[in-house]
C-alpha cells in the first residue's frame, strides 16, 4: 500500500514529534545534544525491510510489543557497529571499546526503550487511544534471522527511517512497526479518518 501525500505528511509529523521528545530525554540523560529526526516513512514488507537493512548485516534491535486498537511489534534497528558507536558517543571517551561491548546491550536497550516509548506515545495521543506496551527486549544478529524473514516475509511494516545526530556524527537507523493484516486494515482506516478531519 502507498500513503497519499497528506497521509505521509501526517505520519512524518507524528513521528517527528515522538522522536523529538526522545531526543530531549536522551540529551538530558547524557548531558549532550542528541538530535533525532525522521526523514522518510513508507509501507513495505518484512522482506523489503530486511533488504533495506541488509540481510547479512549484523544488527542490534530493541523491540516492544504493543496491543490495543491495533497490534504491532515496534522495533528500533541499527547496524550493530552504528549502535556501538551511539553507545560510545553517549558515554564519551571514558571507556575502551571492550567495555563498550560489555555495556552495549543494556545501554542500547535503554535508548531503544526511550525512543520507542516516545513514538508509541505520540501515536496513541494522535489517535486518542492507549496501548498496552510490553517491556523492551534486545536482540542482535543477522537481519534476516532477527526479522524472521523466512516465516513472516510477507507481513506489512510501517517503515520509518531515523537519523541520530550526536557530536557531529550522523548515524542512520530504522524504526519499524510490524503489523498483522487485520491491524494494517485498522491503521489504514484510522489514518484515513484522521486525515479527512484535518
Amino acid at each position: 500500500m502507498h500513503f497519499s501525500e497528506l497521509e505521509e505528511d501526517f505520519l512524518l509529523e507524528l513521528f517527528n514529534i515522538g522522536v523529538g521528545k526522545a531526543s530531549d530525554s536522551l540529551s538530558k540523560m547524557v548531558h549532550q545534544e542528541i538530535i533525532l529526526s525522521v526523514p522518510h516513512i513508507e509501507m513495505i514488507s518484512i522482506d523489503q525491510l530486511a533488504d533495506v537493512v541488509g540481510k547479512d548485516q549484523n544488527i542490534s534491535c530493541v523491540s516492544q510489543k504493543i496491543t490495543g486498537r491495533f497490534d504491532a511489534d515496534s522495533l528500533l534497528l541499527f547496524p550493530k557497529n552504528a549502535s556501538l558507536q551511539i553507545v560510545q558517543l553517549m558515554l564519551g571517551q571514558q571507556f575502551t571499546a571492550e567495555t563498550i561491548k560489555e555495556l552495549h546491550q543494556e545501554a542500547f536497550s535503554e535508548v531503544g526503550n526511550i525512543v520507542l516509548n516516545a513514538c508509541i506515545g505520540s501515536l496513541s495521543r494522535m489517535i486518542d487511544e492507549s496501548f498496552d506496551i510490553a517491556l523492551p527486549s534486545f536482540d542482535q544478529g543477522r537481519a534476516e534471522a532477527i526479522l524472521n524473514v523466512k516465516e513472516h516475509g510477507d507481513e506489512a511494516v510501517l517503515f520509518i527511517k531515523i537519523n541520530l545526530r550526536l557530536s557531529e556524527s550522523d548515524v542512520e537507523g530504522f524504526l519499524a512497526f510490524i503489523l498483522s493484516s487485520s491491524s494494517l486494515d485498522k491503521l489504514q482506516l484510522l489514518l484515513k479518518s484522521l486525515v479527512s478531519e484535518l
Binding site: L91, T96, E110, N113, N117, L135
Partner: protein, 653 residues
C-alpha cells in the same frame, strides 16, 4: 491458599514500590526501607520527588510520569545513571548502591499505577570496572612492548651498522687473499645476524598485532626485477637456474605494501635455494582481478630440492620449527621465515600452502589481496608482435614454455627448439629464415649459444635474423662481449618481463646496435669533489659514513647534532654543500626538527631547498613517511648499504 503480598514483597532481595496514578507512593518494601533508611510509614502518601528533591525533572521522575500518565514501561539501566536513588549498602560504610530500575504500568479503572523494581547491580558494575581496568592495563603493556620493539630495532641496528660499515670499508682496502676470505666470512655472518634480528623483530611485531601494512602504488614488474636479480646471483653461486613466469600478470601497477611482498618472495625463493642442491627454482606469478577495487596476487615457488615429508609439513608453519631440527644446524635460519610468510599472507587476507615430494622438490603456493591502482601501466613491447616469428632455443622445457607464454601474450608466433642442433636442422631445412628473432640460451649440450651464432652468421641467407643471447648470469656476461658481432643483444638470465621487453625494443624496434643494459650500479665520476654535510651523533657511524663517502668521491663535514648543523650552514657559502645526510635520533635537536627548521629558513634562505636524505636505524613502518613529512627528500635505512647510498646520491646530486 491465601497469599500475603505485602509479606511476600518484604521477603524479596530487591526494592519494590508502588506509585499510584496521582504520583503518590503507596508501598515501600523492607529492602527499600533498609537501603534508604526510611520507614514505610514515613514514605507512604508522599511523592518520590518530595522525598528526594534532587529527582525533580530527572530521567527517573519523567519515566514514572510517563508510566502513570500513558502506561509506558521503562528500563533504567545503570549505564548512564549509576544510582538514581540514594540507597546505601550498609549504614556504616554508606556505599551508594548502583541500581537498575524497571517501571511497569499496572492498569486499574482506566488509570495506571507504576510498579517500580530496584535491583542492586553494584557487583556486576564492579566487574565491568575491573574489566575496564584490565583492558587499559593490557593496552599500556602492549604499548610498552611495541615501544620496546621499536627501540630494540633501533638499538640493535646502530651497532650492526657499525659492524657492517667497517667490514665494507675493509673489503674495499688492499687485503691479502686470506684476509679477504676472513672478511668475507665476517661480513656474511654479520648479514645473517641482521637477518635473524629482522626475523625476530617481525615475528614479535606480528605476535603483538603491531605489524601494519602500507598501501602505496607501485610497479610490480619493477619490484620483481629488484627482487630477482640478487636472488639469481645467489642461485647461480649454487649452480641453480631461476626461471620466471610472469606472463599472467595483467596489472603492472598495484597498490599494497611492496616491502612485505618483497619479504614474502625473498623468503620463499631463498628457502628454495637453501634446500635445493641441483636443478632449478621456478617462480610463477599472476594477478587475478576480484572486483574493480581488489585483486589477488597469486604465486608459486617450485624447487627441485630435498622435499618435505608429510609429517614434517604439519609442523612447517609453526614458529621456531624447521622441517627437521637438524636442518637448523645444516642450513641455518631461525625457522621463523615460513611462519612469518604465512602470517603475512594471512594478514593480507590470503594464505600460504605447500605440496612436496621427498627427494623431488616442493611447491609453495601463496596468494593475498591487494588493491587495484588508479595508475595503469601495461608492460609490453613498443609494437604488437603479431607480424613477427620467434625461435626460442633452450634445453630447459619449463623456461621455454614460460618464455613462449609471455611472447604469445604480446602477439608473437613462437617455435620452440630444445637444442641448438635441432634449431640448425630446422633453419637449414628451409634454407632461409622464417624467423625474425632468435632467443638462444648460452649453456646447452653439444652446441652452445656462441657456436650457434658463429655458424649462423657464416650463412648469408640468415643475415637479417636478430640473435639474442640469453647468458647465464650477469657476472659471466663479460665473457660474451667478444661475441658482440654475432649477437644483436645479450640479456642475462633470469629473464624478467622487463628485460624481455627491453631486448625486443632494442632490437626489433630501435636500432640494430648492441646494447647491454646498465644493471650494475656505478658511481658517477665527479671531476670536482663535492662536499656533503653529515649530521650524525654516533662516532662509529660518523666514521663509517665519512670513509664510505670519501671512497665514493665526496668530502664530508660532520656535525654531531641538528643544532650544530644549522650553525654550520649559517656560516657557509650557499654552494658549500651539495646535500645533507641526516640521522633522525640525535640529542639536542633531532633530524626531524632540524629538517623542519632548515625548511623554515633557520639556516638561511640559501639552504631552504637543499636536498636532505634521512639516514636512520629506525626501520619501523611509518618512519619513511615521518621523514618525508618533516621535509626530507629521501630515506636510507641503516645499516647503510653501499649500493643504496650510491643510488640515492646519484639521484639527488
Amino acid at each position: 491458599m491465601d497469599i500475603n503480598y505485602h509479606a511476600l514483597s518484604n521477603a524479596l532481595c530487591l526494592g519494590i514500590t508502588l506509585i499510584d496514578s496521582t504520583n503518590t507512593i503507596i508501598s515501600w518494601n523492607s529492602w527499600l526501607e533498609q537501603k534508604s533508611e526510611l520507614d514505610e510509614k514515613d514514605v507512604i502518601g508522599k511523592k518520590i520527588t518530595s522525598l528526594f528533591p534532587h529527582l525533580e525533572n530527572s530521567r527517573l521522575a519523567l519515566a514514572i510520569n510517563d508510566c502513570i500518565s500513558q502506561g509506558h514501561p521503562s528500563v533504567i539501566s545503570n549505564v548512564f545513571i549509576k544510582s538514581p536513588l540514594p540507597l546505601y549498602s550498609d549504614s556504616l560504610h554508606k556505599h551508594l548502591i548502583q541500581q537498575s530500575i524497571t517501571l511497569l504500568p499496572i492498569k486499574s479503572n482506566n488509570s495506571y499505577s507504576c510498579l517500580m523494581q530496584v535491583i542492586d547491580v553494584t557487583a556486576s558494575s564492579t566487574k565491568v570496572e575491573a574489566l575496564e581496568k584490565q583492558v587499559v592495563e593490557r593496552k599500556y603493556a602492549e604499548q610498552a612492548k611495541a615501544n620496546f620493539l621499536a627501540n630494540m630495532s633501533h638499538e640493535i641496528r646502530t651497532p650492526m651498522n657499525g659492524v657492517l660499515g667497517m667490514l665494507d670499508l675493509i673489503t674495499h682496502s688492499p687485503l691479502t687473499t686470506q684476509q679477504a676470505h676472513y672478511t668475507h666470512l665476517a661480513q656474511s655472518s654479520a648479514e645473517s645476524l641482521l637477518n635473524l634480528i629482522n626475523d625476530i623483530l617481525d615475528f614479535s611485531k606480528i605476535d603483538a598485532g603491531e605489524l601494519n601494512f602500507e598501501s602505496i602504488d607501485f610497479n610490480l614488474h619493477t619490484l620483481l626485477d629488484e627482487i630477482i636479480e640478487p636472488m639469481a646471483l645467489k642461485a647461480n653461486e649454487c649452480n641453480l637456474e631461476v626461471i620466471l613466469d610472469m606472463s599472467s600478470i595483467t596489472n603492472s601497477m598495484i597498490k599494497g605494501d611492496p616491502f612485505r611482498i618483497r619479504q614474502i618472495l625473498i623468503n620463499l625463493i631463498s628457502n628454495a635455494i637453501k634446500f635445493t642442491e641441483t636443478g632449478s627454482i621456478t617462480v610463477l606469478l599472476e594477478t587475478e582481478i576480484i572486483n574493480s577495487e581488489q585483486l589477488h596476487l597469486k604465486g608459486s615457488v617450485l624447487d627441485t630440492g630435498i622435499g618435505i615429508s608429510p609429517a614434517q609439513i604439519e609442523n612447517l608453519f609453526q614458529s621456531f620449527s624447521q622441517a627437521d631440527s637438524s636442518t637448523t644446524r645444516k642450513y641455518g635460519g631461525t625457522g621463523l621465515g615460513l611462519t612469518i610468510v604465512k602470517q603475512l599472507c594471512n594478514l593480507m587476507h590470503g594464505d600460504l600452502t605447500v605440496t612436496s615430494q621427498e627427494g623431488k622438490g616442493s611447491q609453495f603456493n601463496f596468494y593475498f589481496e591487494l588493491e587495484v591502482s588508479d595508475e595503469v601501466i601495461v608492460l609490453k613491447p613498443i609494437e604488437n608482435l603479431s607480424p613477427y616469428s620467434f625461435l626460442i632455443i633452450d634445453d630447459n622445457q619449463i623456461f621455454q614454455t614460460s618464455l613462449q607464454k609471455q611472447l604469445t601474450k604480446w602477439g608473437a608466433k613462437c617455435t620452440l627448439c630444445n637444442s641448438a642442433v635441432s634449431a640448425l636442422q630446422l633453419l637449414e631445412k628451409n634454407n632461409e629464415s622464417l624467423y625474425d628473432l632468435v632467443l638462444i640460451d648460452q649453456n646447452m649440450p653439444k652446441i652452445n649459444g656462441e657456436t650457434f651464432a658463429t655458424l649462423i652468421r657464416e650463412k648469408n641467407n640468415f643475415s637479417h635474423m636478430i640473435l639474442i643471447l640469453m647468458s647465464p648470469s650477469l657476472s659471466e656476461k663479460d665473457n660474451f662481449l667478444n661475441q658482440e658481432h654475432n649477437f644483436n643483444y645479450i640479456v642475462d638470465k633470469p629473464i624478467t618481463a622487463t628485460k624481455l621487453v627491453n631486448s625486443i625494443n632494442n632490437t626489433l624496434f630501435e636500432s640494430q646496435l648492441i646494447k647491454i643494459e646498465p644493471t650494475i650500479i656505478t658511481k658517477k665520476v665527479e671531476t670536482v669533489r663535492k662536499r656533503l654535510l653529515l649530521v650524525e651523533d654516533n662516532q662509529i657511524n660518523q666514521y663509517v659514513a665519512e670513509a664510505l663517502l670519501d671512497d665514493l668521491g665526496y668530502d664530508t663535514t660532520i656535525c654531531e647534532n641538528g643544532s650544530v648543523a644549522i650553525e654550520t650552514l649559517k656560516q657557509s657559502h650557499p654552494n658549500e654543500f651539495s646535500l645533507i645526510l641526516m640521522d633522525c635520533q640525535m640529542p639536542v635537536l633531532d633530524g626531524y626538527k632540524t629538517t623542519e627548521e632548515i625548511r623554515k629558513g633557520a639556516a638561511g634562505e640559501k639552504f631552504n631547498d637543499i636536498n636532505i636524505i634521512a639516514m636512520t636505524a629506525n626501520a619501523m613502518k611509518g618512519d619513511r613517511e615521518k621523514c618525508l613529512n618533516a621535509g626530507m627528500n629521501d630515506y636510507i635505512a641503516k645499516p647503510i648499504n653501499r649500493n643504496e647510498v650510491i643510488k640515492t646520491l646519484n639521484k639527488w646530486i
